[in-house]
Protein backbone atom coordinates (compact mmCIF):
# COMPACT_ATOMS: atom_id res chain seq x y z
CA UNK A 1 0.00 0.00 0.00
CA UNK A 2 2.80 2.34 0.93
CA UNK A 3 4.44 1.49 -2.41
CA UNK A 4 1.39 2.48 -4.39
CA UNK A 5 1.08 5.78 -2.56
CA UNK A 6 4.75 6.53 -3.17
CA UNK A 7 4.37 5.78 -6.89
CA UNK A 8 1.37 8.15 -7.06
CA UNK A 9 3.21 10.94 -5.31
CA UNK A 10 6.24 10.46 -7.56
CA UNK A 11 4.08 10.48 -10.67
CA UNK A 12 2.33 13.69 -9.71
CA UNK A 13 5.69 15.36 -9.10
CA UNK A 14 6.61 14.85 -12.76
CA UNK A 15 5.04 17.47 -15.05
CA UNK A 16 2.61 15.78 -17.41
CA UNK A 17 3.46 16.14 -21.08
CA UNK A 18 0.81 15.84 -23.73
CA UNK A 19 3.07 15.64 -26.78
CA UNK A 20 5.65 12.88 -27.23
CA UNK A 21 9.28 14.02 -27.65
CA UNK A 22 10.28 15.00 -31.18
CA UNK A 23 13.32 12.74 -30.87
CA UNK A 24 13.63 9.77 -28.50
CA UNK A 25 16.31 9.82 -25.81
CA UNK A 26 18.38 7.18 -27.67
CA UNK A 27 18.28 9.21 -30.90
CA UNK A 28 19.29 12.41 -29.07
CA UNK A 29 22.14 10.85 -27.09
CA UNK A 30 23.53 8.86 -30.04
CA UNK A 31 23.22 11.92 -32.31
CA UNK A 32 25.46 14.07 -30.12
CA UNK A 33 27.99 11.33 -29.34
CA UNK A 34 28.25 10.69 -33.09
CA UNK A 35 28.64 14.43 -33.73
CA UNK A 36 31.59 14.63 -31.29
CA UNK A 37 33.15 11.44 -32.75
CA UNK A 38 32.72 12.71 -36.31
CA UNK A 39 34.50 15.95 -35.43
CA UNK A 40 37.37 13.99 -33.80
CA UNK A 41 37.58 11.59 -36.76
CA UNK A 42 37.60 14.47 -39.24
CA UNK A 43 40.31 16.50 -37.49
CA UNK A 44 42.55 13.47 -36.88
CA UNK A 45 41.84 12.14 -40.38
CA UNK A 46 42.89 15.43 -41.96
CA UNK A 47 46.09 15.36 -39.88
CA UNK A 48 46.85 11.81 -41.08
CA UNK A 49 46.19 12.73 -44.73
CA UNK A 50 48.56 15.70 -44.43
CA UNK A 51 51.44 13.25 -43.94
CA UNK A 52 50.82 11.92 -47.46
CA UNK A 53 48.30 13.97 -49.47
CA UNK A 54 48.60 11.70 -52.53
CA UNK A 55 46.13 9.02 -53.55
CA UNK A 56 46.54 5.84 -55.58
CA UNK A 57 44.49 2.98 -56.99
CA UNK A 58 45.24 -0.72 -56.54
CA UNK A 59 47.40 -2.42 -53.92
CA UNK A 60 50.45 -0.17 -53.62
CA UNK A 61 51.59 3.40 -54.27
CA UNK A 62 54.28 5.78 -53.06
CA UNK A 63 56.07 9.00 -54.08
CA UNK A 64 58.00 7.11 -56.77
CA UNK A 65 54.83 5.90 -58.50
CA UNK A 66 52.27 8.06 -60.31
CA UNK A 67 49.36 9.19 -58.15
CA UNK A 68 45.68 9.03 -59.06
CA UNK A 69 45.43 12.60 -57.75
CA UNK A 70 47.03 14.72 -55.06
CA UNK A 71 45.65 17.39 -52.78
CA UNK A 72 47.21 20.84 -53.34
CA UNK A 73 48.25 21.19 -49.70
CA UNK A 74 51.59 21.14 -47.87
CA UNK A 75 52.68 17.87 -46.24
CA UNK A 76 54.03 16.95 -42.81
CA UNK A 77 56.80 14.81 -44.33
CA UNK A 78 59.83 16.08 -46.23
CA UNK A 79 59.73 13.03 -48.53
CA UNK A 80 56.49 14.16 -50.22
CA UNK A 81 56.98 16.63 -53.08
CA UNK A 82 54.23 19.25 -52.69
CA UNK A 83 55.64 22.39 -54.30
CA UNK A 84 55.54 24.16 -50.95
CA UNK A 85 58.82 25.25 -49.49
CA UNK A 86 58.02 24.11 -45.96
CA UNK A 87 57.09 20.96 -44.05
CA UNK A 88 54.32 20.89 -41.45
CA UNK A 89 54.93 19.29 -38.01
CA UNK A 90 54.22 15.56 -37.65
CA UNK A 91 50.92 15.12 -35.77
CA UNK A 92 50.30 11.45 -36.56
CA UNK A 93 51.01 10.10 -33.07
CA UNK A 94 47.99 11.58 -31.28
CA UNK A 95 45.98 11.75 -34.52
CA UNK A 96 46.11 7.99 -35.02
CA UNK A 97 45.33 7.34 -31.33
CA UNK A 98 42.37 9.76 -31.48
CA UNK A 99 41.13 8.43 -34.85
CA UNK A 100 40.77 4.86 -33.60
CA UNK A 101 39.45 5.84 -30.17
CA UNK A 102 36.74 7.99 -31.80
CA UNK A 103 36.06 5.22 -34.32
CA UNK A 104 35.41 2.74 -31.49
CA UNK A 105 33.03 5.13 -29.72
CA UNK A 106 31.27 5.90 -33.02
CA UNK A 107 30.89 2.22 -33.94
CA UNK A 108 29.59 1.22 -30.49
CA UNK A 109 27.21 4.22 -30.51
CA UNK A 110 26.09 3.29 -34.02
CA UNK A 111 25.39 -0.28 -32.94
CA UNK A 112 23.25 0.99 -30.04
CA UNK A 113 21.38 3.27 -32.47
CA UNK A 114 20.81 0.48 -35.03
CA UNK A 115 19.64 -2.10 -32.48
CA UNK A 116 17.36 0.40 -30.75
CA UNK A 117 16.07 1.63 -34.12
CA UNK A 118 15.15 -1.89 -35.15
CA UNK A 119 13.54 -2.76 -31.81
CA UNK A 120 11.48 0.45 -31.58
CA UNK A 121 10.73 0.36 -35.34
CA UNK A 122 12.31 3.83 -35.58
CA UNK A 123 13.61 3.20 -39.11
CA UNK A 124 10.30 1.83 -40.36
CA UNK A 125 8.28 4.66 -38.83
CA UNK A 126 10.49 7.68 -39.51
CA UNK A 127 13.08 6.83 -42.16
CA UNK A 128 11.64 4.27 -44.59
CA UNK A 129 9.87 6.28 -47.31
CA UNK A 130 6.29 5.42 -48.17
CA UNK A 131 5.94 3.61 -51.48
CA UNK A 132 3.78 6.45 -52.85
CA UNK A 133 6.62 8.91 -52.15
CA UNK A 134 9.07 6.98 -54.29
CA UNK A 135 7.53 7.83 -57.66
CA UNK A 136 9.47 10.19 -59.93
CA UNK A 137 6.64 12.75 -59.72
CA UNK A 138 6.59 12.82 -55.93
CA UNK A 139 10.38 12.91 -55.75
CA UNK A 140 10.71 15.73 -58.28
CA UNK A 141 8.06 17.77 -56.46
CA UNK A 142 9.95 17.55 -53.15
CA UNK A 143 13.21 18.23 -54.94
CA UNK A 144 11.72 21.31 -56.67
CA UNK A 145 10.48 22.64 -53.31
CA UNK A 146 13.97 22.17 -51.92
CA UNK A 147 15.66 23.91 -54.82
CA UNK A 148 13.26 26.87 -54.59
CA UNK A 149 14.14 27.08 -50.87
CA UNK A 150 10.43 26.81 -50.06
CA UNK A 151 10.14 26.61 -46.26
CA UNK A 152 8.90 23.30 -44.84
CA UNK A 153 5.23 22.95 -43.90
CA UNK A 154 4.05 22.37 -40.37
CA UNK A 155 3.82 18.61 -40.82
CA UNK A 156 7.49 18.46 -41.74
CA UNK A 157 8.48 19.72 -38.30
CA UNK A 158 7.28 16.36 -36.98
CA UNK A 159 8.49 14.02 -39.66
CA UNK A 160 10.93 13.77 -42.56
CA UNK A 161 10.16 14.21 -46.23
CA UNK A 162 11.23 11.62 -48.76
CA UNK A 163 14.53 13.34 -49.65
CA UNK A 164 15.50 13.56 -45.99
CA UNK A 165 14.54 9.92 -45.45
CA UNK A 166 16.60 8.72 -48.42
CA UNK A 167 19.58 10.86 -47.40
CA UNK A 168 19.55 9.68 -43.78
CA UNK A 169 19.16 6.04 -44.87
CA UNK A 170 22.08 6.46 -47.30
CA UNK A 171 24.32 8.01 -44.63
CA UNK A 172 23.38 5.49 -41.93
CA UNK A 173 23.32 2.29 -43.99
CA UNK A 174 25.75 3.01 -46.86
CA UNK A 175 28.25 5.78 -46.00
CA UNK A 176 29.00 4.91 -42.37
CA UNK A 177 29.40 1.15 -43.07
CA UNK A 178 31.59 1.98 -46.09
CA UNK A 179 33.81 4.18 -43.92
CA UNK A 180 34.19 1.40 -41.33
CA UNK A 181 34.86 -1.19 -44.03
CA UNK A 182 37.44 0.85 -45.96
CA UNK A 183 39.06 1.83 -42.65
CA UNK A 184 39.43 -1.83 -41.68
CA UNK A 185 40.63 -2.68 -45.21
CA UNK A 186 43.68 -0.46 -44.60
CA UNK A 187 44.65 -2.59 -41.59
CA UNK A 188 47.33 -5.17 -42.48
CA UNK A 189 46.20 -7.30 -39.51
CA UNK A 190 42.53 -7.32 -40.54
CA UNK A 191 43.54 -7.98 -44.15
CA UNK A 192 45.56 -11.00 -42.96
CA UNK A 193 42.53 -12.55 -41.26
CA UNK A 194 39.91 -11.46 -43.82
CA UNK A 195 41.64 -10.78 -47.17
CA UNK A 196 38.30 -10.19 -48.89
CA UNK A 197 37.91 -7.02 -46.79
CA UNK A 198 40.53 -5.38 -49.01
CA UNK A 199 40.39 -7.43 -52.24
CA UNK A 200 36.78 -6.33 -52.94
CA UNK A 201 38.13 -2.80 -53.39
CA UNK A 202 41.01 -3.92 -55.58
CA UNK A 203 43.71 -3.23 -53.01
CA UNK A 204 44.76 -1.35 -49.90
CA UNK A 205 45.41 1.93 -51.75
CA UNK A 206 41.98 1.77 -53.43
CA UNK A 207 40.41 1.34 -49.97
CA UNK A 208 42.33 4.43 -48.76
CA UNK A 209 41.11 6.46 -51.75
CA UNK A 210 37.48 5.36 -51.20
CA UNK A 211 37.86 6.19 -47.48
CA UNK A 212 38.85 9.72 -48.55
CA UNK A 213 35.86 10.13 -50.89
CA UNK A 214 33.57 8.78 -48.15
CA UNK A 215 34.86 11.59 -45.94
CA UNK A 216 34.12 14.13 -48.69
CA UNK A 217 30.51 12.86 -48.94
CA UNK A 218 30.09 12.90 -45.15
CA UNK A 219 31.38 16.48 -44.92
CA UNK A 220 28.99 17.49 -47.73
CA UNK A 221 26.15 15.83 -45.85
CA UNK A 222 27.14 17.66 -42.65
CA UNK A 223 27.20 21.05 -44.41
CA UNK A 224 23.78 20.53 -46.02
CA UNK A 225 22.44 19.10 -42.74
CA UNK A 226 23.51 22.23 -40.81
CA UNK A 227 22.23 24.50 -43.59
CA UNK A 228 18.83 22.77 -43.50
CA UNK A 229 18.66 22.98 -39.71
CA UNK A 230 19.32 26.73 -39.99
CA UNK A 231 16.64 27.10 -42.69
CA UNK A 232 14.07 25.20 -40.63
CA UNK A 233 14.77 27.18 -37.45
CA UNK A 234 18.11 26.54 -35.77
CA UNK A 235 17.04 27.12 -32.15
CA UNK A 236 13.88 25.04 -32.32
CA UNK A 237 15.49 22.14 -34.19
CA UNK A 238 18.59 22.11 -31.99
CA UNK A 239 16.47 22.26 -28.83
CA UNK A 240 14.44 19.33 -30.16
CA UNK A 241 17.63 17.30 -30.58
CA UNK A 242 18.83 18.24 -27.07
CA UNK A 243 15.71 18.21 -24.91
CA UNK A 244 13.34 16.30 -27.18
CA UNK A 245 10.80 19.13 -27.14
CA UNK A 246 9.77 20.97 -30.29
CA UNK A 247 7.16 23.57 -31.05
CA UNK A 248 5.86 23.14 -34.55
CA UNK A 249 3.91 26.40 -34.54
CA UNK A 250 7.09 28.33 -33.77
CA UNK A 251 8.71 27.27 -37.04
CA UNK A 252 9.61 30.35 -39.05
CA UNK A 253 8.50 33.05 -36.62
Amino acid sequence: MADAAAVRSLASAVPTTTTPPRHSAVVRVTHWITAVCFFALLVSGVEIVISHPRFYWGEAGNVLTPSLFKLPIPASRPSVPTGYGFVLPDQNGWSRYLHFQAAWVAVLTGLLYIVSGLVTRHFRKYLLPAGSDLTWRALSRVLANHLRFRPPGEAEAWSYNVLQRLTYLFVIFVLFPLMIWTGLAMSPAIASAFPVTVTVFGGQQSARTIHFFGTVFLVLFLLVHILMVCRAGFRNRTRAMITGRARAQKEHP
Binding site: V49, E59, G93, Q101, W104, M186, P188, A189, S192
Partner: protein, 245 residues
Protein backbone atom coordinates in the same frame (compact mmCIF):
# COMPACT_ATOMS: atom_id res chain seq x y z
CA UNK B 1 13.27 7.48 2.58
CA UNK B 2 10.45 5.59 0.88
CA UNK B 3 10.58 1.89 0.06
CA UNK B 4 10.74 2.52 -3.66
CA UNK B 5 13.85 4.67 -3.56
CA UNK B 6 15.50 2.26 -1.11
CA UNK B 7 14.77 -0.65 -3.43
CA UNK B 8 16.06 1.38 -6.33
CA UNK B 9 19.21 2.20 -4.38
CA UNK B 10 19.81 -1.48 -3.60
CA UNK B 11 19.28 -2.60 -7.21
CA UNK B 12 21.46 0.21 -8.55
CA UNK B 13 24.14 -0.69 -6.00
CA UNK B 14 23.97 -4.37 -6.93
CA UNK B 15 24.08 -3.56 -10.64
CA UNK B 16 27.07 -1.26 -10.15
CA UNK B 17 28.90 -3.89 -8.09
CA UNK B 18 28.15 -6.53 -10.71
CA UNK B 19 29.33 -4.16 -13.45
CA UNK B 20 32.58 -3.29 -11.70
CA UNK B 21 33.38 -6.90 -10.79
CA UNK B 22 32.44 -7.95 -14.34
CA UNK B 23 34.93 -5.43 -15.68
CA UNK B 24 37.56 -6.63 -13.21
CA UNK B 25 37.07 -10.25 -14.32
CA UNK B 26 37.22 -9.17 -17.98
CA UNK B 27 40.45 -7.24 -17.31
CA UNK B 28 41.97 -10.26 -15.55
CA UNK B 29 41.01 -12.59 -18.41
CA UNK B 30 42.23 -10.09 -21.02
CA UNK B 31 45.58 -9.81 -19.26
CA UNK B 32 45.91 -13.58 -19.03
CA UNK B 33 45.26 -14.06 -22.75
CA UNK B 34 47.58 -11.22 -23.75
CA UNK B 35 44.92 -8.74 -24.82
CA UNK B 36 46.19 -5.68 -22.92
CA UNK B 37 48.76 -3.54 -24.78
CA UNK B 38 51.58 -1.86 -22.81
CA UNK B 39 50.11 1.58 -23.67
CA UNK B 40 46.71 0.80 -22.12
CA UNK B 41 46.84 3.77 -19.76
CA UNK B 42 45.95 7.40 -20.31
CA UNK B 43 43.23 9.07 -22.35
CA UNK B 44 43.70 6.90 -25.45
CA UNK B 45 44.11 3.67 -23.44
CA UNK B 46 40.54 2.39 -23.90
CA UNK B 47 40.57 2.72 -27.71
CA UNK B 48 44.06 1.25 -27.95
CA UNK B 49 43.11 -1.70 -25.74
CA UNK B 50 39.94 -2.37 -27.76
CA UNK B 51 41.90 -2.28 -31.04
CA UNK B 52 44.68 -4.55 -29.78
CA UNK B 53 42.34 -7.01 -28.05
CA UNK B 54 39.96 -7.22 -31.02
CA UNK B 55 42.76 -7.67 -33.55
CA UNK B 56 44.60 -10.21 -31.39
CA UNK B 57 41.43 -12.29 -31.04
CA UNK B 58 40.74 -12.11 -34.79
CA UNK B 59 44.27 -12.49 -36.12
CA UNK B 60 46.23 -14.71 -33.73
CA UNK B 61 47.15 -17.25 -36.43
CA UNK B 62 46.28 -15.39 -39.63
CA UNK B 63 48.91 -14.96 -42.33
CA UNK B 64 49.62 -11.63 -44.02
CA UNK B 65 48.55 -11.62 -47.66
CA UNK B 66 51.24 -12.83 -50.05
CA UNK B 67 51.31 -11.69 -53.67
CA UNK B 68 52.41 -13.14 -57.01
CA UNK B 69 55.82 -12.08 -58.30
CA UNK B 70 54.10 -9.95 -60.98
CA UNK B 71 52.80 -7.60 -58.28
CA UNK B 72 56.21 -6.69 -56.86
CA UNK B 73 56.51 -2.87 -56.98
CA UNK B 74 58.93 -1.72 -59.68
CA UNK B 75 59.88 1.31 -57.58
CA UNK B 76 59.85 0.60 -53.83
CA UNK B 77 60.33 3.75 -51.78
CA UNK B 78 63.20 3.75 -49.25
CA UNK B 79 62.14 6.12 -46.48
CA UNK B 80 64.67 7.99 -44.36
CA UNK B 81 68.46 8.22 -44.41
CA UNK B 82 70.97 5.45 -43.62
CA UNK B 83 72.60 5.72 -40.18
CA UNK B 84 75.18 8.51 -40.07
CA UNK B 85 77.30 7.00 -37.27
CA UNK B 86 80.96 6.04 -37.80
CA UNK B 87 80.36 2.45 -36.64
CA UNK B 88 77.75 1.89 -39.36
CA UNK B 89 79.98 3.43 -42.05
CA UNK B 90 82.88 1.20 -40.99
CA UNK B 91 80.69 -1.92 -41.10
CA UNK B 92 79.27 -0.88 -44.48
CA UNK B 93 82.78 -0.33 -45.91
CA UNK B 94 83.63 -3.93 -44.97
CA UNK B 95 80.51 -5.23 -46.72
CA UNK B 96 78.81 -5.88 -43.37
CA UNK B 97 81.08 -8.92 -42.88
CA UNK B 98 81.43 -7.99 -39.19
CA UNK B 99 77.73 -7.22 -38.59
CA UNK B 100 76.47 -9.10 -35.57
CA UNK B 101 73.09 -9.69 -34.01
CA UNK B 102 73.12 -10.05 -30.21
CA UNK B 103 70.29 -12.02 -28.61
CA UNK B 104 69.89 -11.61 -24.85
CA UNK B 105 67.39 -11.21 -22.02
CA UNK B 106 65.10 -14.07 -21.01
CA UNK B 107 66.81 -16.72 -23.11
CA UNK B 108 68.53 -19.96 -22.10
CA UNK B 109 71.55 -19.40 -24.37
CA UNK B 110 72.38 -15.76 -25.15
CA UNK B 111 74.02 -15.56 -28.55
CA UNK B 112 75.79 -13.29 -31.00
CA UNK B 113 75.20 -14.21 -34.63
CA UNK B 114 76.95 -13.01 -37.78
CA UNK B 115 75.05 -12.45 -41.02
CA UNK B 116 76.67 -15.59 -42.44
CA UNK B 117 75.39 -17.57 -39.47
CA UNK B 118 71.90 -16.13 -39.92
CA UNK B 119 72.02 -17.10 -43.62
CA UNK B 120 72.98 -20.67 -42.71
CA UNK B 121 69.67 -21.10 -40.89
CA UNK B 122 66.54 -22.18 -42.81
CA UNK B 123 65.33 -19.19 -44.80
CA UNK B 124 61.91 -18.04 -45.86
CA UNK B 125 60.94 -15.85 -48.79
CA UNK B 126 57.62 -14.01 -48.97
CA UNK B 127 56.11 -11.32 -51.19
CA UNK B 128 54.22 -8.98 -48.88
CA UNK B 129 52.92 -5.44 -48.71
CA UNK B 130 54.76 -2.87 -46.60
CA UNK B 131 52.39 -0.05 -45.64
CA UNK B 132 53.58 3.07 -43.87
CA UNK B 133 51.22 4.70 -41.37
CA UNK B 134 51.55 7.86 -43.49
CA UNK B 135 49.57 6.20 -46.28
CA UNK B 136 52.07 5.00 -48.90
CA UNK B 137 53.12 1.44 -49.57
CA UNK B 138 54.97 -1.00 -51.82
CA UNK B 139 55.11 -4.73 -52.42
CA UNK B 140 58.43 -6.59 -52.32
CA UNK B 141 59.91 -10.02 -51.88
CA UNK B 142 61.55 -10.33 -48.47
CA UNK B 143 64.07 -13.06 -47.68
CA UNK B 144 65.29 -13.92 -44.20
CA UNK B 145 65.24 -16.26 -41.25
CA UNK B 146 62.01 -16.42 -39.24
CA UNK B 147 62.47 -14.72 -35.87
CA UNK B 148 60.75 -17.75 -34.30
CA UNK B 149 63.60 -19.96 -35.54
CA UNK B 150 66.27 -17.79 -33.88
CA UNK B 151 64.19 -17.64 -30.68
CA UNK B 152 63.93 -21.44 -30.67
CA UNK B 153 67.69 -21.78 -31.11
CA UNK B 154 68.45 -19.54 -28.10
CA UNK B 155 65.56 -20.98 -26.08
CA UNK B 156 63.14 -18.40 -24.70
CA UNK B 157 62.15 -18.69 -21.04
CA UNK B 158 58.46 -19.38 -20.31
CA UNK B 159 57.84 -15.96 -18.72
CA UNK B 160 58.85 -14.12 -21.93
CA UNK B 161 56.15 -11.72 -23.13
CA UNK B 162 57.87 -9.37 -25.58
CA UNK B 163 60.82 -9.20 -27.94
CA UNK B 164 62.53 -5.80 -28.10
CA UNK B 165 64.62 -5.15 -31.21
CA UNK B 166 67.24 -2.41 -31.50
CA UNK B 167 68.61 -0.54 -34.48
CA UNK B 168 72.27 0.43 -34.73
CA UNK B 169 70.80 3.96 -34.74
CA UNK B 170 70.72 5.08 -31.12
CA UNK B 171 67.21 5.78 -29.77
CA UNK B 172 65.54 3.56 -32.36
CA UNK B 173 63.96 0.39 -31.07
CA UNK B 174 60.56 -1.20 -30.92
CA UNK B 175 58.95 -4.35 -29.59
CA UNK B 176 56.35 -6.98 -30.42
CA UNK B 177 54.37 -9.44 -28.34
CA UNK B 178 55.10 -13.18 -28.56
CA UNK B 179 52.17 -13.69 -30.99
CA UNK B 180 54.01 -11.58 -33.57
CA UNK B 181 57.51 -12.63 -32.48
CA UNK B 182 56.67 -16.31 -33.05
CA UNK B 183 54.54 -15.64 -36.15
CA UNK B 184 55.90 -17.59 -39.17
CA UNK B 185 56.06 -14.44 -41.36
CA UNK B 186 58.03 -12.32 -38.88
CA UNK B 187 61.43 -12.32 -40.56
CA UNK B 188 64.93 -11.19 -39.69
CA UNK B 189 65.24 -9.98 -43.27
CA UNK B 190 68.58 -9.88 -45.09
CA UNK B 191 67.38 -10.12 -48.72
CA UNK B 192 64.94 -8.24 -50.94
CA UNK B 193 63.71 -8.95 -54.47
CA UNK B 194 66.30 -11.65 -55.05
CA UNK B 195 69.34 -9.64 -53.87
CA UNK B 196 70.84 -8.46 -50.60
CA UNK B 197 68.64 -6.08 -48.60
CA UNK B 198 69.65 -2.55 -49.76
CA UNK B 199 70.82 -0.12 -47.08
CA UNK B 200 67.91 2.22 -47.91
CA UNK B 201 65.46 -0.54 -47.00
CA UNK B 202 67.22 -1.41 -43.75
CA UNK B 203 70.13 -3.55 -44.96
CA UNK B 204 71.91 -5.54 -43.84
CA UNK B 205 69.22 -6.63 -41.37
CA UNK B 206 65.64 -5.49 -40.85
CA UNK B 207 62.82 -7.00 -38.83
CA UNK B 208 59.78 -7.44 -41.08
CA UNK B 209 56.47 -7.73 -39.20
CA UNK B 210 54.09 -7.86 -42.17
CA UNK B 211 50.89 -7.76 -40.11
CA UNK B 212 51.88 -4.37 -38.69
CA UNK B 213 52.60 -0.99 -40.28
CA UNK B 214 56.00 0.23 -41.43
CA UNK B 215 57.18 1.85 -38.23
CA UNK B 216 57.25 -1.52 -36.43
CA UNK B 217 59.65 -2.78 -39.11
CA UNK B 218 62.84 -1.37 -37.59
CA UNK B 219 65.92 -1.18 -39.83
CA UNK B 220 69.61 -2.00 -39.11
CA UNK B 221 68.92 -4.53 -36.34
CA UNK B 222 71.87 -5.32 -34.04
CA UNK B 223 70.22 -6.64 -30.90
CA UNK B 224 67.19 -8.60 -29.70
CA UNK B 225 66.14 -8.63 -26.06
CA UNK B 226 63.52 -11.06 -24.78
CA UNK B 227 61.68 -9.64 -21.78
CA UNK B 228 58.52 -9.90 -19.68
CA UNK B 229 58.14 -6.13 -19.23
CA UNK B 230 58.55 -3.09 -21.46
CA UNK B 231 59.01 -0.70 -18.52
CA UNK B 232 62.70 -0.26 -19.31
CA UNK B 233 61.98 0.11 -23.04
CA UNK B 234 59.42 2.90 -23.27
CA UNK B 235 58.35 3.29 -26.91
CA UNK B 236 59.93 6.10 -28.89
CA UNK B 237 57.81 9.10 -29.82
CA UNK B 238 54.08 9.20 -29.21
CA UNK B 239 53.05 6.50 -31.67
CA UNK B 240 50.78 3.64 -30.67
CA UNK B 241 52.72 0.53 -29.63
CA UNK B 242 50.45 -1.75 -31.65
CA UNK B 243 50.31 -0.90 -35.35
CA UNK B 244 48.00 -3.52 -36.85
CA UNK B 245 45.86 -0.71 -38.25
Amino acid sequence: MSNVSRRKLITTGLAATAGVSGLAVAARLADRYGLIPPDHGGFYGPGETLTYAAQRLLTRHSLAREFPRSQISARPFANGKPPQGEDFKRLQAAGFANWRLAVDGMVAHPASLSLAELRSHPSRSQITHLACEEGWSFIAEWIGVPLSHVLNVVGILPQAKYVVYFSIDRDWWDSVDMADALHPQTLLTYGMNGGALPVGHGGPLRLRVPRQLGYKNVKYITRLTVTDSLKAFSPEGDYAWYAGI
